[in-house]
C-alpha cells in the first residue's frame, strides 16, 4: 500500500499519535505555568517568613542590678528631670565590669557594646515609675545589642559572626550557659517608633502613620467615589462629556502610581502649601489614586441592581434622586464597600507616590494627628531594607509580615462581605 492510496481515516489515525503527544505537551505547559505561579507565591512567602519570624523575638540579658542611689545621685524625692539626667548608662557599665572583670580599656569597650543603648533607658523608666526601687537590687532583662541578638538567635554554635570577636563570644557563651542570655517576645518592635539602633526600632510610628493616612484616604475617597459612581451610572447623559470622563477614569486606574506622587508634590505641596511628610498630604494623594478603583467597582455594583427595582420605585412616584438614595444605593452598598476595601488595600501597600511627598523622613515620634510628620509601613520597609545591619533585614521581613497580615485581613473582610451581603437577583 503506497502513501497516496491511504484513506483519510488512515491518515488521521496515523497522525493521532503525534497530535495526542502535542495535546499532552500543551497541557503540560499549562500545568507548568500555573505551578510556576504558585511556586513563586510559596517561595516568596516562605522566604519572607523564614527571614522575618525571628524579628518577633529579642535577646535580653537577665541580671540582677543594684540601683545604687548614691552612684546615680538620686534620692526618693528626686523629680523626673533629675531621674532623666542620672547616669544609668554608667551604672550598667559598672555592673557588667564587676560581673565579667574585663582586661583593659579595649575589652571594657567590647563588653559595653554587648548591651543596647536602650538598656539605660529601660532602667530610667523603671525608676521614673517607681522611686522606691532606688537602692534596691532588682531583676531586669536588659536589651542586648543587635549583634548579640543576631548571634544568639542565628549563629550560636554553627556560624561565624563577623561583628563579634572571640572574647565577646566567650562572654556570651558563658552567659548563655548560665541561662542569663534569653530570647523573649519582642514587645519593643510593636511599641517603639523608628530608631537608628535595630534592637530599639519598632513599627508603631509607621502603623499609626498608615492608619491616619488610610483614614484620610477613606474619608475622602469613599463618599467621592460613591457619588461619582452614582452620577455616571444613574444621572449622566450619554454624551461626549460623559464618555470623556469615563475614559479618564479607566486611564487613571492604569496610570503609574508614581505620577500621583508628582502631582502631590507639584500641586498639593508646592501650590497649596500642604505640609510635607504628613498623613494629610499622603491621604490626599492616595485618595486620587484609589478613586478610580472605587468608582469602577461602585459602577459595577450599581449596574447589578436590577432595573425592575428602579421602575417599581418610579412607578410609585419617587423622584430619580429618591430612587437612587432610597433603593439603589442601599442595595449596591455591599458591592461598593467591597471595592472600597480592595482600593484601601491597594493604598495600604503603596509606596512610590509617598516617597515623592516626603514620607521617607526619619520619624522617631509616633504621629498623633494628620498634620504630624510621619511615615507609613511600606515606606518604613523601604527605608529599613536599605540599612546594612543584618538585624534590620530581619526587622524589614518582620514588618513585611505585619503588612501582609493587614492585607490578608482586609481582603478576607472584602471576600466575606461579598459572600454575606451580595444578593443574586
Amino acid at each position: 500500500m503506497t502513501k497516496s492510496s491511504m484513506t483519510t481515516r488512515e491518515k488521521v489515525e496515523k497522525s493521532m499519535k503525534r497530535r495526542r503527544a502535542a495535546e499532552q505537551r500543551f497541557r503540560m505547559y499549562g500545568v507548568a505555568s500555573v505551578l510556576f505561579g504558585l511556586l513563586c507565591l510559596v517561595v516568596l512567602f516562605g522566604d519572607i517568613l523564614s527571614k522575618g519570624t525571628s524579628a518577633f523575638s529579642q535577646t535580653v540579658i537577665e541580671t540582677s542590678i543594684t540601683l545604687d542611689a548614691d552612684y546615680l545621685g538620686l534620692d526618693k524625692n528626686a523629680d523626673d528631670q533629675q531621674v532623666r539626667l542620672a547616669n544609668f548608662e554608667g551604672l550598667i557599665k559598672q555592673h557588667f565590669k564587676d560581673m565579667v572583670q574585663p582586661d583593659g580599656r579595649k575589652e571594657r569597650r567590647q563588653l559595653y557594646s554587648l548591651v543596647s543603648a536602650g538598656a539605660s533607658w529601660q532602667l530610667q523608666n523603671m525608676v521614673l515609675n517607681d522611686r522606691s526601687l532606688l537602692g534596691q537590687t532588682i531583676e531586669v532583662a536588659l536589651i542586648a545589642d543587635d549583634d548579640v541578638d543576631q548571634w544568639f538567635k542565628h549563629d550560636r554554635g554553627h556560624a561565624h559572626n563577623a561583628m563579634l570577636n572571640e572574647t565577646q563570644i566567650g562572654w556570651l557563651e558563658q552567659w548563655a550557659e548560665q541561662g542569663i542570655l534569653k530570647t523573649r517576645f519582642n514587645t519593643l518592635f510593636f511599641v517603639n517608633g523608628d530608631s537608628r539602633e535595630p534592637e530599639l526600632a519598632g513599627i508603631r510610628g509607621a502603623i499609626t502613620g498608615t492608619f491616619l493616612t488610610l483614614l484620610v484616604t477613606f474619608l475622602l475617597s469613599f463618599p467621592i467615589g460613591v457619588a461619582a459612581a452614582i452620577y455616571l451610572e444613574e444621572f449622566a447623559p450619554k454624551n461626549k462629556i460623559t464618555e470623556f470622563v469615563e475614559i479618564n477614569i479607566n486611564n487613571l486606574a492604569a496610570v503609574p502610581s508614581i505620577t500621583f506622587g508628582l502631582l502631590g508634590l507639584a500641586i498639593f505641596i508646592n501650590i497649596f502649601g500642604v505640609a510635607r511628610s504628613t498623613p494629610l498630604v499622603g491621604g490626599l494623594v492616595l485618595t486620587l489614586m484609589t478613586l478610580p478603583t472605587i468608582i469602577i467597582s461602585g459602577r459595577a455594583a450599581i449596574k447589578a441592581v436590577p432595573p425592575s427595582i428602579r421602575e417599581a420605585a418610579l412607578g410609585l412616584g419617587a423622584s430619580r434622586v429618591q430612587v437612587v438614595f432610597h433603593h439603589v444605593l442601599p442595595l449596591a452598598l455591599p458591592g461598593m464597600l467591597t471595592g472600597t476595601i480592595i482600593g484601601m488595600a491597594q493604598a495600604l501597600g503603596e509606596t512610590a507616590p509617598l516617597l515623592m511627598i516626603g514620607m521617607v523622613a526619619f520619624v522617631v515620634d509616633v504621629p498623633a494627628f494628620i498634620s504630624d510628620p510621619s511615615t507609613v509601613l511600606p515606606v518604613q520597609i523601604f527605608l529599613w531594607s536599605d540599612s546594612p545591619e543584618r538585624a534590620f533585614t530581619e526587622r524589614t521581613s518582620g514588618a513585611i509580615i505585619v503588612l501582609l497580615g493587614f492585607l490578608v485581613i482586609m481582603n478576607t473582610a472584602a471576600v466575606m462581605l461579598r459572600r454575606r451581603l451580595e444578593r443574586r437577583w
Binding site: G30, V34, F36, F244, L252, I258, F260, L262, L265, F272
Partner: protein, 457 residues
C-alpha cells in the same frame, strides 16, 4: 486649630438648620396648608444652604491665606532682604514663620518686627475668618428660613443641588488627570528652558549632578535620558518574557482545561501575587533573587552585577503574571463557545482548538492585555528602586546594572532640594515622558479590548 473648630461649628449649625427647617415646614403644615415637599426636604435645603457655602469658602480660604499672608509679610522685612533674590526672601519668610510659632532656632533681631507683624496678622485673619464663615452660615439660615413657604419646591431644589454635587465628584477624576498633566507639563517646560529637549530625548549620557556653587564649571550636569529609556525597556522586556508566556498559558489552562475545583483554588491563589505590595517584591528581588542570580552567574564564570537588570526584571515578571493571566482569562472566556464546538466538530483536539481557533479569535484582547501589562511594567517603581541600580549604563546585557525612568524620578525627588534646580525639574520631565507613554499604551489597549468585546457581545 482654627480650621477644625470652624468646621465643627459649621457642622453643628448645619444640624441645627436642618431641624429648624423641618420644624418650620411642619408648623406651616399644621396650619392646614398643603406643603409641596416633605418637611425633611425643607430641613435638608436649610442644611445645604447653611453648610455648603461656608465649607467651600473655608477650602478656598485655606488655599489663599498663606499666599496673602506671605505677600503682606514681605513688606515688613528689612529693606536689604526685600531687595535680595527670591530665594533669600523665601528663606526669611519661612524663618519668620518658624519664629512666630516659637520653634525658630536662630535669633534674628532684624526679623522681630516681621514676626510681631505676622502674629498680629494671623490673629486678625483668624478672627476675620471665623467671623466671615459663621456670618455666611447664619445668612444661609436666615435667607432659607424666609423662603420656606407652603408652595416652595424644596425637593426639586435639594435634588438639583445633590445632582450638582454628584457631578462635581465625578469631575474630580478629570481634575486629577488635568492636575497630573499640568504639574508635569509645567515643570517639564521649565526644565526644557534649561536643557534642550533634544539633548534630553536623544542624549546618551545621564549624570544629573548639581554643582555646589552656582558659578562652578559643568554645573548643569548631563541630562540625556536614552540610557534610562533603554534600561526601562530592558527590564520591562525581561519581565514580559516571563509574564506573557506563563500568564497566557496559565489563563488557557485555567479556562480551557482545569476542572472547576482546580480553577476555584488556583485562580485566586495566582491573584494573590497581584495583591502583594510592590515594596515586598522589591525586598525579595534585592535580598533573595539578586544574590542567587549573582551566585549562579559566578559559578558559571559570568560577571554579574549585584544589581542586575535580570533580578529586577524576573521579579517584576512574577508580579505581572496574574495581571496577564486574569486579563487574558477574561478575553478567552469571551470567545463564544460555538467557535470551540465548531472546531471540535471538525475533529480538532483541544490544543488545536485553542491554538487555531480560540487564540486567533481572542488575539486583539490578548494584545490589549499585554499592552496594559507593559504599561504597568514601565511604570513600576519599587521593585526597580530597590533591586535595580542607579548607574545609567547604556547596555542591553541583562547581567549588568541599569537604571530606569522611575528609579531616577525617585532618586531625584527624595530628599530636600531647591525646587527649581534642573535636577528636580528633570524628574518632572521624566514623569511627563512616563505619563504620556503609559497613557498612550493604556488608551490604545483599552480601545482594543473594548472593540473586541463588542465584536462578540
Amino acid at each position: 486649630m482654627n480650621y477644625s473648630s470652624l468646621i465643627i461649628a459649621v457642622l453643628i449649625l448645619l444640624g441645627g438648620a436642618y431641624l429648624l427647617g423641618r420644624n418650620r415646614a411642619r408648623a406651616i403644615a399644621n396650619q392646614g396648608m398643603k406643603l409641596h415637599s416633605l418637611p425633611t426636604h425643607y430641613g435638608a435645603l436649610m442644611a445645604l444652604w447653611t453648610g455648603l457655602p461656608p465649607l467651600l469658602l473655608l477650602l478656598l480660604w485655606g488655599l489663599m491665606e498663606p499666599r496673602i499672608v506671605d505677600q503682606l509679610l514681605v513688606a515688613q522685612l528689612p529693606a536689604h532682604i526685600q531687595n535680595g533674590s527670591g530665594a533669600e526672601i523665601q528663606l526669611a519668610v519661612s524663618k519668620v514663620h518658624n519664629l512666630a510659632i516659637g520653634s525658630g532656632v536662630s535669633e534674628a533681631p532684624e526679623l522681630q518686627p516681621a514676626v510681631k507683624h505676622l502674629q498680629a496678622l494671623q490673629q486678625r485673619f483668624d478672627l476675620l475668618q471665623a467671623g466671615v464663615i459663621l456670618a455666611l452660615a447664619l445668612i444661609g439660615v436666615a435667607l432659607t428660613w424666609r423662603r420656606i413657604k407652603a408652595d416652595m419646591r424644596a425637593r426639586s431644589e435639594v435634588e438639583r443641588i445633590v445632582r450638582y454635587m454628584l457631578f462635581a465628584s465625578s469631575g474630580i477624576a478629570v481634575l486629577t488627570t488635568l492636575g497630573i498633566l499640568a504639574s508635569v507639563v509645567y515643570e517639564a517646560w521649565l526644565f526644557f528652558h534649561k536643557v534642550s529637549i533634544f539633548e534630553f530625548l536623544f542624549g546618551t549620557s545621564w549624570s544629573p549632578q548639581i554643582a555646589l556653587r552656582a558659578d562652578q564649571s559643568g554645573s548643569s550636569g548631563d541630562f540625556g535620558a536614552v540610557p534610562l529609556f533603554a534600561g526601562t525597556l530592558l527590564i520591562s522586556l525581561i519581565a514580559m518574557v516571563i509574564a506573557v508566556p506563563v500568564g497566557l498559558m496559565a489563563a488557557i489552562y485555567l479556562s480551557e482545561y482545569a476542572t472547576s475545583r482546580v480553577r476555584s483554588f488556583a485562580k485566586p491563589a495566582l491573584e494573590i501575587l497581584a495583591g502583594i505590595p510592590t515594596v515586598v517584591y522589591g525586598f525579595f528581588a534585592a535580598l533573595t533573587v539578586a544574590p542567587i542570580i549573582r551566585g549562579l552567574g559566578e559559578s558559571m564564570g559570568l560577571d554579574v552585577s549585584s544589581e542586575s537588570a535580570l533580578a529586577a526584571g524576573l521579579v517584576m515578571g512574577i508580579m505581572i503574571i496574574p495581571f496577564v493571566s486574569s486579563l487574558s482569562d477574561d478575553v478567552i472566556n469571551a470567545v463564544p463557545q460555538s467557535l470551540r464546538d465548531g472546531s471540535y466538530g471538525l475533529g480538532a483536539t483541544r490544543s488545536e482548538t485553542v491554538r487555531q481557533v480560540v487564540i486567533p479569535a481572542a488575539l486583539p484582547g490578548i494584545v490589549g492585555a499585554v499592552m496594559l501589562a507593559v504599561s504597568r511594567a514601565i511604570g513600576e517603581t519599587m521593585i526597580v528602586a530597590m533591586a535595580a541600580g542607579l548607574a545609567a549604563n547604556l547596555t542591553f546585557n541583562p547581567l549588568d546594572s541599569v537604571t530606569t525612568v522611575t528609579v531616577q524620578i525617585v532618586t531625584l525627588l527624595v530628599g530636600d532640594q531647591e525646587f527649581d534646580s534642573p535636577k528636580t525639574l528633570a524628574a518632572f520631565a521624566l514623569g511627563l515622558v512616563l505619563f504620556l507613554v503609559t497613557l498612550v499604551l493604556n488608551y490604545v489597549a483599552l480601545k482594543i479590548v473594548q472593540k473586541y468585546r463588542e465584536q462578540y457581545d
